[in-house]
């Protein structure tokens, strides 16, 4: 369990990023922080592994304040996946995945074996293991990033818009892959995105944020759609624009669902 207790953050240069944020993230579930650019999602996420230290309040993991832990050790115990994969361009794919293991002293041979396992787990061909990151497509790189996040089998996985930079078709694949993995592994995942569709797909718990890390609404996707807390949420999830207000239309004997903007959204089963 991860808990934010009245957390605030003002950066050294005076930028206020987070005002007063409190939240409990249950273990073995996925919590998605969603909000538009600059609202403080990344800042909140990075407080968990002390890449950012809060200027007020505490972040607790299983009731232990992370501020009491050595940051390097803490980071080694938590998986981290980010938008541009952040792979080391000078290391082969398998060595990239092995990094978290090597850092905690796992011998090279064993680290590579486990790295290969992790690559397989995220659906990457073993043939790619000996390539360099730049020889991979964007989607493949993201998978490598996920493999690296998982390789040391951490309890917590932080994911900062991990699929933000890949094209929609690959993104769909990666999302499905993550859902599958999570069913298998049951990690505690903190996931950051600004795509509400992604949030609704992946999140057991979705946290919609306003500027300054202020919580607009917390709940399951269906709860949020059924009872949006206010106009901000309504607009954020698209209920105001007609994207979410659907109606049914007959075409060629099929019942096509069309949204308020006239876009065909799908076929009613």
């Amino acid at each position: 369990m991860i808990e934010y207790r009245n957390v605030g953050k003002t950066f050294a240069d005076g930028t206020p990023a987070v005002g007063d944020f409190s939240l409990v993230l249950p273990s073995h579930t996925t919590t998605v922080l969603v909000g538009s650019s600059g609202c403080g999602k990344t800042t909140l996420l990075r407080m968990v592994n002390r890449m950012v230290d809060p200027s007020a309040g505490q972040v607790l993991i299983d009731d232990v304040d992370v501020a009491t832990r050595n940051p390097v050790d803490l980071r080694r115990s938590i998986g981290y996946v980010m938008q541009h994969a952040g792979l080391l361009p000078h290391r082969r794919v398998v060595d990239n995945v092995a990094v978290p293991l090597r850092l905690v002293g796992v011998p090279r041979a064993e680290a590579r074996t486990r790295a290969l396992d992790a690559l397989e787990k995220v659906g990457l061909d073993a043939a790619l293991a000996e390539k360099y990151p730049r020889q991979l497509s964007g989607g493949q790189q993201q998978r490598v990033g996920v493999a690296r996040g998982l390789v040391a089998d951490p309890n917590i996985l932080l994911m900062d818009e991990p699929f933000g930079a890949v094209d929609p078709i690959v993104r769909d694949d990666l999302q499905q892959e993550l859902l599958r993995l999570q069913r298998e592994l049951g990690k505690t995942i903190v996931f950051v995105t600004h795509d509400i569709d992604e949030a609704f797909l992946l999140g057991d718990q979705v946290v919609i944020l306003r500027k300054g890390g202020e919580v607009a609404q917390v709940g399951t996707p269906a709860e949020i759609l059924a009872a949006p807390a206010d106009d901000f949420v309504r607009s954020f999830v698209g209920l105001d624009k007609g994207r979410r207000t659907l109606r049914i239309q007959e075409v060629d004997g099929q019942r096509i669902v069309v949204d308020g903007e006239g876009r065909a959204a799908g076929v009613l089963a």
Partner: protein
């Protein structure tokens, strides 16, 4: 051509000396400049000062430096150490800027990921920053190497024997063949060294697409 053959062993001796006088400053310059450049990059307040002094150092004309140096260092007049010191100064002056730039252009998200994965400060510098700065550093070394090989010849004016001696000698004897051979030999050494750096780059930086391009 016959002159070349007749004097082959002489030219070879000069070339070997020349090679030596070129490699030492480049290597020393690299070893000194990389940490300084890294440090300057880290401390933006000092960056301008360090790079500025590098610029000043580099604009010092070589000839007077070569003459004044023995008085400052207490070295012998004929001592090639003078040439080595002057050329090392130039190499440092050029490479400090390169090194600072090399560390400045490292992709921030890679560094961020490295930290987030649990690299300690030193681990990050050694395992991530240094190798990633490699291609740019290599490009800098190549530029310095070429100019050093060419600058060594100036030492001949004050009596430090090297391939430049073929210029001063040929000049006094009105013997263009000797000068041309000297020029060719200098270019050959420059290319040879350059090839060496490229090869070294291929071995040490196999992941890099470009093995460094002269800037």
């Amino acid at each position: 051509m016959t002159w070349f053959l007749d004097n082959f062993s002489h030219i070879r001796d000069l070339a070997l000396t020349h090679l030596w006088l070129s490699i030492v400053p480049v290597v020393l310059g690299f070893v000194i400049a990389v940490p300084v450049g890294w440090w300057a990059q880290r401390h933006s307040r000092w960056r301008a000062l360090v790079l500025g002094s590098g610029g000043i150092l580099y604009s010092l004309p070589s000839l007077p430096l070569l003459v004044i140096l023995p008085g400052i260092l207490g070295t012998s007049f004929l001592d090639p150490v003078n040439v080595v010191v002057v050329l090392t100064l130039y190499a440092v002056a050029l490479l400090v800027r390169t090194a600072a730039d090399a560390f400045a252009q490292l992709p921030p998200d890679v560094l961020d990921a490295a930290t987030a994965n649990g690299h300690s400060g030193l681990q990050r510098v050694v395992r991530v920053e240094l190798p990633l700065a490699g291609p740019v550093l290599l490009a800098g070394v190549r530029v310095v190497s070429v100019s050093t090989v060419s600058l060594v010849t100036v030492g001949a004016i004050i009596g430090v024997t090297n391939l430049g001696s073929l210029f001063t000698d040929g000049f006094r004897r009105d013997f263009t063949t000797e000068i041309v051979i000297g020029v060719l030999a200098v270019v050959a050494i420059a290319l040879l060294l350059d090839g060496l750096w490229v090869l070294l780059g291929r071995i040490l930086l196999p992941w890099s697409t470009k093995t460094g391009r002269a800037a």
